[in-house]
């Protein structure tokens, strides 16, 4: 009798974390299209090529995930008629330009870093996602590699959370 009650108790303990996760996991939203807005630099001084590279890399990465049927560019008039359209806004919060030569010679200095906040907004103005992310290039590669890293992280986040 005691053995049976122990077994039941163990079974309840083992099952409960999974049950709790199921309860707390937010329901994923399904949207057929996303529009990627231009990168807002705010007050941060960042070269234009970095802003453009983040924007173009984001378009590529989000398309690669196949999460959305349509991925629209900023300003695309075709997006106007889409009902369940999401909008991805990216704002630069920090930028540190390193040096490729420094990275390759010293390995510990010369890293390039881009900090952004990524926000996904629904058509009715609801904020569905707001997260801070950082793109880096530490060892090999050009400075613009930080933008590819950042785009990869944002696309992964969209794939997981939406």
């Amino acid at each position: 009798m005691i053995r049976r009650s122990w077994l039941v108790a163990w079974a309840v303990l083992l099952v409960s974390p999974g049950y709790a996760e199921e309860q707390s996991a937010p329901a994923k939203l399904s949207a057929s299209a996303i529009q990627i807005e231009q990168v807002d630099a705010g007050d941060v001084l960042i070269p234009m090529e970095f802003r453009v590279a983040i924007y173009e890399s984001l378009l590529d990465r989000v398309r690669q995930t196949s999460k959305f049927k349509q991925v629209f560019r900023s300003g695309d008039r075709q997006a106007d008629g889409v009902q369940d359209l999401l909008t991805l806004k990216t704002k630069i919060e920090g930028f540190q330009e390193g040096s490729q030569t420094k990275r390759e010679v010293t390995t510990v200095t010369g890293a390039t870093k881009v900090d952004v906040s990524a926000t996904v907004v629904a058509r009715d103005g609801r904020v569905l996602l707001d997260q801070h992310l950082t793109g880096r290039v530490r060892f090999f590669g050009e400075n613009l590699g930080a933008t590819h890293d950042l785009a990869k992280r944002i696309a992964k986040l969209l794939n997981e959370k939406l």
């Binding site: 231009q38 070269p47 234009m48 090529e49 802003r51 453009v52 590279a53 924007y55 173009e56 890399s57 590529d60 629209f72 560019r73 900023s74 300003g75 695309d76 008039r77 075709q78 040096s99 490729q100 030569t101 390759e104 010679v105 090999f140 050009e142 400075n143 613009l144």
Partner: protein, 176 residues
């Protein structure tokens, strides 16, 4: 001087001056090519839909469009649709994939020394334009040093919109 016939020495010195003068004019001729809209060897880092990333190709500036050709792939951007042009410069590592592999393979920190030798300065030209649907596009091109500003000037002359780039401020003299 070399123990040769004096007439031969004079003719050799003349020919060497001629060869040197042609060699010294080569960079100027290259710049002239860029100005007249001749094909210019550039690398398209990203932004042209029909062209792969990091594609090496030829940039041609025509009257109404900027055309980039890389093998079979071809992209055309109407000059009038260009919103803004930014030119900048960056220090990068030359040598490509072979250079990277060599740097990794060299023992006793030789790769690090090679990194110092393989530095090269390039110009970066960033263009933003709108497509027929109003979609925003950004193109990043890398050009040989000194040609970014010239291509920018030629695009502006062709009707592209561009902000006025601030001239570099002269360094203030140190007060004694």
């Amino acid at each position: 001087m070399l123990g040769l016939n004096p007439e031969l020495e004079v003719s050799m010195s003349r020919s060497s001056i001629f060869v040197l003068s042609i060699l010294s004019c080569a960079p100027l001729l290259a710049q002239e090519a860029a100005l007249k809209g001749m094909p210019l060897k550039v690398r398209c880092l990203m932004g042209l839909e029909t062209v792969k990333r990091n594609a090496q190709g030829m940039l041609t500036l025509q009257e109404e469009a900027m055309e980039f050709t890389a093998g079979q792939a071809k992209a055309r951007v109407p000059v009038k649709s260009i919103d803004d042009i930014f030119s900048g410069a960056e220090m990068t590592q030359s040598g490509g994939t072979v250079g990277v592999i060599t740097k990794v393979a060299l023992p006793y920190g030789g790769g690090r020394a090679l990194s110092l030798l393989l530095r090269s300065k390039i110009d970066i030209l960033t263009l933003t334009y709108r497509d027929d649907n109003g979609g925003f596009h950004g193109v990043i091109l890398t050009l040989p040093k000194g040609q970014g500003a010239q291509v920018r000037a030629q695009l502006v002359a062709g009707g592209a919109h561009a902000h006025v780039e601030e001239a570099p401020q002269p360094q203030q003299e140190k007060k004694q």
